[in-house]
Structure formats: structure tokens, C-alpha cells
């Protein structure tokens, strides 16, 4: 039995005109399983293609056709369950959810109702304010997607594209453990990160690979649950946030005006930023669930689960901990880097065997700056981990200064090439040879007696001498070496 896990926290309360309200949110996320073939037929799952290109006899529900479970999809569901630290059910049952709609060829959706493949698990969220919360997962089950109806292509008729019909979805149901739109957004973001790490869902919400039904209710702190509404099929993280904010305000307004909340199904209109009730026809269903007699119960042994567990990649939370301990990353930096696996892998390639602090600064600093300016992820900015790594090595061994390194990075970005070669070819190597520098320093001292005199009363003017040296060497002089030489020659203490 579910028990509330959250304490009421002041920061999560919403102020109404008659007092504080607490918000309660639960999400049902539909995630398309990454697989080559559909859940019960051999058809391709590729996105796009001409309408009705990826449709088999089974997908079109021709008479006498039978579903056969795609094992690859079952494995993906198990992997996801493991990634959510959830209970894996060795026996689950497929049920039919019956309703009529033109994009549902069978007249029923094959889903899992009473006995899902995955049971309780959890997802940990690290919030911006440095706190973390655990969101309970109630269950994950496998089901078929429907096709797509289009009502605009023909003046009188609707048209149907069955390419998506039968594609495998995982419905991941959370407990009502979230207390703000921010938490809900963080949850979906984290869930998406986990699924992407696992390779079980591509998480591309704009292609419909992930969408959420959002359950929202409000109550006075300490009160039992309020009546909830369910906003269906919200397809971006931003919209999820907007839909929740809208629902919170709407529900509080209704309640504070003395009204009551109807338990109803809503749609989110992204243009208006509002929720509105579905037409009653769209929701008044008695789905008449019953076990699908065409399919035997889905059974597998622990051996399979353990085999899949053994093959799991490092998951986001593990990676974050490791980055903090191995590379001394702050929780904030670590969280940003692990959010997408390619960025994390990029960082790790740069940092491995090199100065970790420098690696963090360069990846999170200049490289992220360039990536943001270009609007691409880190690993696509056009500098390979090798190139950036070499640049860091050049700084570490004193070949170039950090300032020159920024210029070299620009050159790599614009022209490509090897940082070491660029430094060599453009003669950007730092001048650390004291003999050569000494000649230059001596020259400057001899030619500028006035400044030498001035220096005796104003020690800070040493900067002028440094500038002169840099000018002469076109910035290549090692600043530490120059300072040391000047101090020795002019017999002054350290600035």
C-alpha cells in the first residue's frame, strides 16, 4: 500500500488569498521503446516514412492475425526497470483495453493492467537548491501505441496513418510524490536521462517518443488528498511545467471561490497555455479490460534479469558520484555534465590522465560557451576530446599560457588541426628560456632609465616592464619567468 513519503515543506507551498496550499503531482510517462520492430509484429518502428509504410497484417488487424511478443522489447522493459531500481516481475499478463477508434485497428489496445512487467522503484532528483528528493515509481508496463488520425487533410473525411500502430510503449507511472512544477520537470528530465543512458527510449519528445499524462491536485497542508485532474498527452517538458502551473492556479481559484474540483480529463493547449476539459465522448470509456487470450502470460527467469543487469551501462547517479570523487567535481558541475551521456563521455575523455581541474574549467567554461553560442551539445561543437586534451597538456607543461590557449582553441574551432602543431606553426610557444628573455629584459632596462628610477618609489610600475616584454615577445613570454627576471635585475621584492 502506498504511503506518502514527503513531509510538507514551506518552500513548496503556494500562497492563495485564503492561506497556503500544497500541490500534489503524479505523472504517467509514455516512453517509446527503442527497438527495430513493433511490440507484436515484425514491422519497422522507424520514425517518419510515407504514411502506412510500416504496417503489417497484424498492425492492420486483418482477420485471423495474431500478436507475437517481440523479445527485444521485453528486454528493454526489464533494463528500464533495473535502471529505475524497480522490482522485476517474472510473470506478467497482457490485457486488452477495448475501445473503438479509427486509429486503433484491433478495436483494443494490448496493454498490461493487473500484472505489469515492472513493479515499484524510484528516481532521485537533485534540485537546484542543492536538496534532493526521491520520487517513487509505482509500476512500468508494456503496451501498444495507436496510429495517428488526421482530420485536416480531406474536407469531409479523416485519414489514418498506422505507422505508429503497434509500436511498443513503456508506461511509467510515478507515485504522487512531486510537490511543484519544478520537481515534475526535474523528474521528467531525470527519467529521460536514465532512459537515454539505458538506450531504452530515445527521449525525443518532439517526435512523440515521450509524452506524459499529468495528475495534479491541491490541498491545505496536512489535509488528505484533494480531487485530481489528469491532463493527457503533454509532449514537452516546458509544457508539462506550464500545464501544472495553470492547473495549480485554476484549482486554487476554484476552491477559494468556494467551488469544488471535478475529477476530469483535460487537454493542454500550448498556444493559449491553458488546460481545457476533453469532450465527454473522448473520455467516457468502459475499457472492459480482460486478459488477451491470444497471448500466454509473459514469463522469464531470474537468469535473464541478472544477465541484463550485468550488461547495464553506468547510470547517471553512479556516474555523478564517480565524477565527484574521481575528478573532484562540484555536485553542480557533475549534474550538468552527466545530464547527457555524450557530454559526460566527452568530459571523461578529456579529463582522463590529465589535470582534472583544468579539464572541468575548460569543458564547463570556454567549450560550453562555444557550444551554447552554436546551439549544439558539447560533443558536437567541433573540438574532439583529443584536441582539447592536447591543449590542456600544453598548458600543464608550460608550453603555452592559458591566454594563448584560448586563441589556439579558436583556431582549432575555425580551421581544425592539432593544437601542438598550431602552436608550433604559428610560433605561439611560451618563451621560458631565461637566456633569451634576459637579453630582452636587459635591453628594456638599459633603454628606459627614467622608468627604472620611477620604479624605486612606485614598485607597482613593474607591470609596465612586463608589458614591454610581452610586446616584444608578442605575448609568448612566460609571465612568471619575466616577473622573476625583472625582480632579480631591478632588486625589488615581490610585488
Amino acid at each position: 500500500m502506498y504511503k506518502e513519503s514527503r513531509e510538507t515543506e514551506k518552500k513548496n507551498l503556494v500562497q492563495g488569498s485564503t492561506g497556503d496550499w500544497e500541490v500534489v503531482i503524479g505523472l504517467e510517462v509514455h516512453a517509446q521503446v527503442t527497438s527495430n520492430a513493433k511490440l507484436f509484429s515484425g514491422s519497422s518502428t522507424q520514425f517518419g516514412g510515407e504514411p502506412n509504410d510500416h504496417v503489417s497484417l497484424v498492425d492492420a488487424a486483418m482477420p485471423g492475425m495474431l500478436p507475437v511478443i517481440n523479445e527485444a522489447c521485453v528486454h528493454q522493459a526489464i533494463r528500464t526497470g533495473l535502471g529505475l531500481r524497480a522490482k522485476i516481475n517474472n510473470r506478467s499478463v497482457f490485457d486488452r483495453k477495448n475501445y473503438f477508434y479509427p486509429d486503433l485497428p484491433q478495436g483494443y489496445q494490448i496493454s498490461q493492467f493487473k500484472h505489469p512487467i515492472v513493479g515499484e522503484g524510484d528516481v532521485v532528483l537533485d534540485l537546484k537548491d542543492g536538496t534532493s528528493v526521491t520520487i517513487g515509481i509505482e509500476r512500468l508496463h508494456l503496451e501498444q501505441d495507436a496510429g495517428k488520425s488526421n482530420h485536416d487533410l480531406h474536407p469531409k473525411h479523416s485519414v489514418v496513418d498506422l505507422n505508429r500502430s503497434g509500436v511498443a510503449l513503456m508506461e511509467i507511472v510515478s507515485y504522487p510524490d512531486m510537490r511543484s512544477a519544478e520537481e515534475a520537470k526535474a523528474y521528467v528530465t531525470k527519467l529521460r536521462t536514465i532512459l537515454r543512458y539505458l538506450g531504452t527510449c530515445d527521449g525525443n519528445m518532439d517526435e512523440g517518443s515521450m509524452r506524459a499524462d499529468v495528475n495534479v491536485s491541491v490541498r491545505r497542508p496536512g489535509d488528505p488528498w484533494g480531487t485530481r485532474t489528469e491532463t493527457k498527452n503533454v509532449n514537452s517538458i516546458r509544457f508539462i511545467g506550464q500545464a501544472i502551473e495553470y492547473e495549480i492556479n485554476r484549482q486554487i481559484d476554484v476552491l477559494e471561490d468556494g467551488g469544488t474540483i471535478d475529477q476530469e480529463t483535460l487537454l493542454f493547449d500550448p498556444k493559449k497555455g491553458e488546460t481545457r476539459p476533453m469532450r465527454s465522448k473522448e473520455e467516457a470509456h468502459d475499457y472492459r479490460y480482460f486478459p488477451d487470450p491470444d497471448l500466454l502470460p509473459l514469463e522469464f527467469d531470474d537468469e535473464l534479469v541478472e544477465k541484463l543487469r550485468g550488461e547495464l551501462p553506468e547510470l547517471p547517479d553512479e556516474k555523478k558520484d564517480r565524477f565527484m570523487s574521481d575528478y573532484g567535481l562540484s555536485p553542480y558541475d557533475a549534474e550538468i555534465l552527466i545530464a547527457a551521456r555524450p557530454s559526460a563521455d566527452y568530459f571523461e575523455k578529456v579529463a582522463k590522465g590529465r589535470d582534472a581541474k583544468l579539464a572541468v574549467n575548460w569543458v564547463m567554461g570556454d567549450l560550453s560557451g562555444h557550444a551554447n553560442a552554436k546551439g549544439v551539445p558539447l560533443h558536437e561543437v567541433g573540438v574532439s576530446p583529443d584536441q582539447l586534451g592536447q591543449l590542456i597538456e600544453l598548458i600543464t607543461d608550460g608550453t603555452i599560457s592559458g591566454k594563448i590557449a584560448k586563441d589556439v582553441l579558436e583556431i582549432v574551432l575555425e580551421e581544425g588541426g592539432n593544437p601542438a602543431d598550431i602552436v608550433e606553426a604559428k610560433g605561439l610557444k611560451q618563451m621560458s628560456d631565461t637566456g633569451e628573455l634576459e637579453t630582452i629584459v636587459d635591453d628594456i632596462i638599459t633603454n628606459n632609465p627614467k622608468q627604472v628610477e620611477q620604479l624605486k618609489t612606485k614598485p607597482k610600475t613593474i607591470g609596465w616592464f612586463v608589458g614591454q616584454v610581452m610586446q616584444k615577445t608578442k605575448g609568448k613570454a612566460n609571465p612568471q619567468a619575466v616577473n622573476k627576471l625583472l625582480q632579480d635585475k631591478l632588486e625589488i621584492g615581490e610585488g
Binding site: 492475425m65 484491433q106 472492459r288 487470450p293
Partner: protein, 493 residues
């Protein structure tokens, strides 16, 4: 030589091999018989004579070259519930109007791979829902048998009425059929033919229009037990496209057919002695017991205590599955579409016009028993009953090898005689056969004699899971003892 159409499959196979006649001659003899009978009997929804002759000519070549399959050149009828490539498939319903599959059911493919020649698609109750072949959109199918007392036409039983009638009338040598609650065995009993429903999972359901998925199972109807053994061997196979099909080797049923019943333990379930069962059925049953006993079988009384709940439970489970299985006939992708102002009215118009009264009744029953608030009381309870029925059989099979019962509680009746006011009267036809489907067991009906009205009566043997060989063997003994029935008079010629 007797008429070619009187031959059994076993004899025709020998004649073809010896060159006594050709497959084309055999085919044409049957085409002639169909032409003469179809107006009176209405057993075929569609004939495929041209393809049949072509196919028979190919068989002749194969027989000559020594590549003959197990059913090479044998003319068969295919119940119109099996999807056949490029040949219209109706399920006896208007809703599949002009539907022509681009695929071949696993069973028909198996038969054609073995050389069988399809003469046409056979009449049936709409979506196999019926026990008299009176619910077909394509009209009643009539039995070749007449009632001696009043000369009335009779129903061939159902739902495989077309299969049973055309096999009995010598229009085809054998036919495919399907059995959800008795649809192979009851028409076999009514028409003096042999019908075997194999164990659930023995024959693939892929490409067979579904009625009730957990109960549907295909099998053959033939004129002799031996022919049933031959056809079943061809039809049965494991099929990866049907998750419920079972991966077991298919034995050579012919090989053990005449091994006799010496030492076989035959159970007689007392619950099958129902109220209102006629004396002649009772006597027939006793005759069957005596025949098996005299051949060395051991007769043991057994009890199947939950039998009386089988029929009501069946009429919950089967309609529930059917209501969902038939949802795909919505006018959107294939078959009949009756336009409407919007999608809902299109659905309503199409399904109102496309489905007949019995199908609608079962969709309504099924929808009702699955509805919120009724599911537990009806569907779930029926599933529990089903478990108890299975357990009854498990218990009985600790003591016996096969069970012997009558196939039907009464002989064939005339069209319109039953179920007009009360559908349950019709449903009672299946009282001895549904238990077998509920338990997923194999069952066979064998002709055992004629009623006082001069119409055939059948005895049923029920076997252990996947022991089709066992019931075929016992059936052969019964057939030998009873003797083959005479052919029905060809009153239609």
C-alpha cells in the same frame, strides 16, 4: 469401380498412386457432384473449380514424378473461416463483404503443401456462432439426410455445417472445420461423419478468423476415422506465428490406428446422463460401452462434478472474447462500410447492417459480462469454473485413458425448429461438447448408428491433452463395431 466420389481419402490415395484414375478425374467428379447439389444443400459459399482443376493437373504431374504429398490430388472443402490467398473469405458474414485475403492460413497452407485440392469455400454459421448453420448471411445449409418420419429437411448442425454436409453428401472427400464449443463434433454427429477437435494448441489459429481465441481449434471432418487421421496429420503443426500453438511433434496417427483398445481404460462420466435425453441416445451410449468392452477395454464409472456449469460458463467466456475479437470489423479498413454523418454513426450503420442477429446477441452478452461492475461476477467467475472443469478432467484421467459420451443429446432437427423463441434451446445442443473446449482437450465424434427417424447419431471420445492418437484408435474400434453408415440418398439429383 464404384463412383469416385464414394471413395475415402485412403482409397483415393491408393487409386491415384496406382493410376486407376487421375487427380483431374477425381476433381471433376466432385465438381459435378457440387454442381448437382449446391442449390439444394447450399454447402458452398464460393466454388473455386477452375483453380481446383489446375491444381489437380499439377498433382497428376507430381504423382507421376513420384513427388506426391500426403494429400496429393485429394479434393477438399475449406470452411469459409480460413483465410485463403486471393480467394474471398466471408466467415459467413455480410460484414466481410468482398474481403479477399492476401495471405494463407497456416492450416490451408499445410494442406496445400501436401497436395490437397480446394474445391471451394464452405458455408458456416456467421463467425462460427451457431449449432445449425442457420445464422449464415449466405443462407441455411441443409443436411443430405432427411427425417424418415416426415421427410423434413434437416440442419447439418453448426457451425461447420457446410463442412459436414458436403463431406456427408460426397461433394468433397474431407473438409476443414473449426470447433469452439462443438462446431466440428456436433455437425459430424448430425451428418454421420467423423469430426475431430484436436487439443488446443495442436493446430495453428493463424489466419483463421477468430471467434473465441482461447477455445477455437481447427480440425477435419471426414467420412472415416482413418481419413481423419490422415487429414489431421497434415493440418497440425507448431506455428511460431501463433503463441498458443504448442511445439510438440505430430505423431503418425495412421500407424497406431488399428492397435485396438485392449486394456484401454474408458471412463463413463455419470454427469452426461442429463434430463430429457432420449432413450435412443442412452441406448446408443450403452452400445458404445459394449463395443469397447468386447474389444478388451476396461469400463470405469467416473464423475465430472462441474459439468453442469460448463455451458453457462462457456456462454460467458466465448461471447466475452468474441465481443473483443469482432471489434476490428468497424468499416474502416476492409469489408463492409455503411456511411454515416460521423465516425460513430458509420460504426453503428456498418455493424448494424454487417452483423446478423446471433452475432449481435453474443457481442452484447460479451460486452455486458466484461463491463465494469459485472466483470467479477461473470467473466472472472466463469474463468474459475473453467479451472474447476479442467480439474475434473485431470482427476478423471488419473483413473482412465479416454472418456466415452454421446456427442449430442438429440438427433438432427429441421430448420426453424429450435431456438426461435429461446436461444438457450439451441445452445443446449453443445452441452456434451463445450466441456472439452473449456478444458482444451481433444475430442472426436464417430457415427454410431441411426435414430428412429433414420438420421445419424454420434458418440464422442474425449482424450488426454495431445493424445489424439489415443482417441483416434478408440474411434476406429467404434467405427469397426458400428460399421460405416450408408450414404444418404441423393434426393437433390
Amino acid at each position: 469401380m464404384s463412383e469416385l466420389t464414394d471413395l475415402t481419402i485412403a482409397k483415393a490415395r491408393k487409386g491415384l498412386a496406382k493410376g486407376d484414375f487421375s487427380a483431374v478425374e477425381l476433381c471433376e467428379a466432385h465438381i459435378k457432384a457440387v454442381d448437382a447439389a449446391n442449390e439444394a444443400l447450399n454447402t458452398f459459399i464460393m466454388t473455386t473449380f477452375e483453380q481446383a482443376v489446375e491444381r489437380a493437373a499439377q498433382s497428376d504431374k507430381k504423382i507421376k514424378s513420384g513427388d506426391a504429398g500426403a494429400l496429393e490430388g485429394i479434393p477438399l472443402g475449406i470452411k469459409d473461416l480460413f483465410c485463403t490467398t486471393d480467394v474471398q473469405t466471408t466467415a459467413g458474414s455480410h460484414i466481410l463483404d468482398k474481403f479477399t485475403p492476401v495471405y494463407e492460413s497456416t492450416i490451408t497452407k499445410n494442406l496445400f503443401d501436401d497436395g490437397a485440392v480446394m474445391i471451394g469455400k464452405l458455408n458456416l454459421d456467421e463467425f462460427a456462432m451457431g449449432s445449425s448453420n442457420e445464422t449464415s448471411y449466405f443462407g441455411n445449409c441443409i443436411s443430405p439426410w432427411k427425417r424418415k418420419t416426415d421427410g423434413a429437411n434437416l440442419v447439418p448442425g453448426g457451425s461447420s455445417g457446410g463442412s459436414a454436409s458436403s463431406v456427408s453428401a460426397r461433394l468433397v472427400m474431407g473438409a476443414t472445420a473449426t470447433d469452439t464449443g462443438g462446431s466440428i463434433r456436433q455437425p459430424a454427429a448430425f451428418t454421420g461423419t467423423v469430426g475431430i477437435k484436436p487439443t488446443y494448441g495442436r493446430c495453428s489459429r493463424w489466419g483463421v478468423v477468430a471467434f473465441a481465441s482461447s477455445l477455437d481449434q481447427a480440425g477435419p471432418i471426414t467420412r472415416t476415422v482413418e481419413d481423419a487421421a490422415i487429414m489431421l496429420k497434415s493440418m497440425a503443426s507448431y506455428d511460431a506465428k501463433d503463441t498458443t500453438s504448442v511445439d510438440l511433434p505430430v505423431p503418425d496417427y495412421e500407424k497406431t490406428l488399428r492397435d485396438g483398445v485392449k486394456g484401454l481404460r474408458v471412463g463413463i462420466p455419470k454427469e452426461y446422463r442429463v434430463d430429457g435425453m432420449s432413450d435412443e441416445i442412452e441406448q446408443l451410449w450403452q452400445k458404445g460401452i459394449d463395443w469397447l468392452k468386447s474389444e478388451g477395454a476396461e469400463i470405469i464409472d467416473v464423475s465430472l462434478p462441474h459439468t453442469k456449469y460448463a455451458l453457462p460458463a462457456y456462454y460467458i467466456v466465448a461471447p466475452a472474447e468474441a465481443s473483443s475479437n469482432l471489434a476490428r470489423y468497424d468499416g474502416v479498413r476492409y469489408g463492409l462500410r455503411v456511411p454515416g454523418d460521423d465516425i460513430l454513426s458509420m460504426y453503428e450503420n456498418t455493424r448494424a447492417e454487417g452483423f446478423g442477429a446471433e452475432v449481435k446477441r453474443r457481442i452484447m452478452i460479451g460486452t455486458y459480462v466484461l463491463s465494469a461492475g459485472y466483470y467479477d461476477a461473470y467473466y472472472l467467475k466463469a474463468q474459475k469454473v473453467r479451472t474447476l472443469i479442467k480439474r475434473d478432467f485431470d482427476e478423471a484421467y488419473k483413473k482412465v485413458d479416454v472418456l466415452l459420451t454421446p456427442t449430442t443429446p438429440s438427433p438432427a432437427f429441421a430448420p426453424g425448429e429450435k431456438g426461435g423463441d429461446d436461444p438457450v434451446e439451441m445452445y443446449l445442443n453443445d452441452i456434451f461438447t463445450v466441456t472439452v473446449n473449456m478444458a482444451g482437450l481433444p475430442g472426436i465424434s464417430v457415427p454410431a448408428g441411426l435414430s428412429s427417424e433414420g438420421t445419424p447419431l454420434g458418440l464422442q471420445l474425449i482424450g488426454k491433452p495431445f493424445d489424439e492418437a489415443g482417441i483416434l484408435r478408440a474411434a476406429q474400434t467404434l467405427e469397426d463395431a458400428a460399421g460405416l453408415l450408408p450414404a444418404p440418398e441423393r434426393w437433390w439429383v
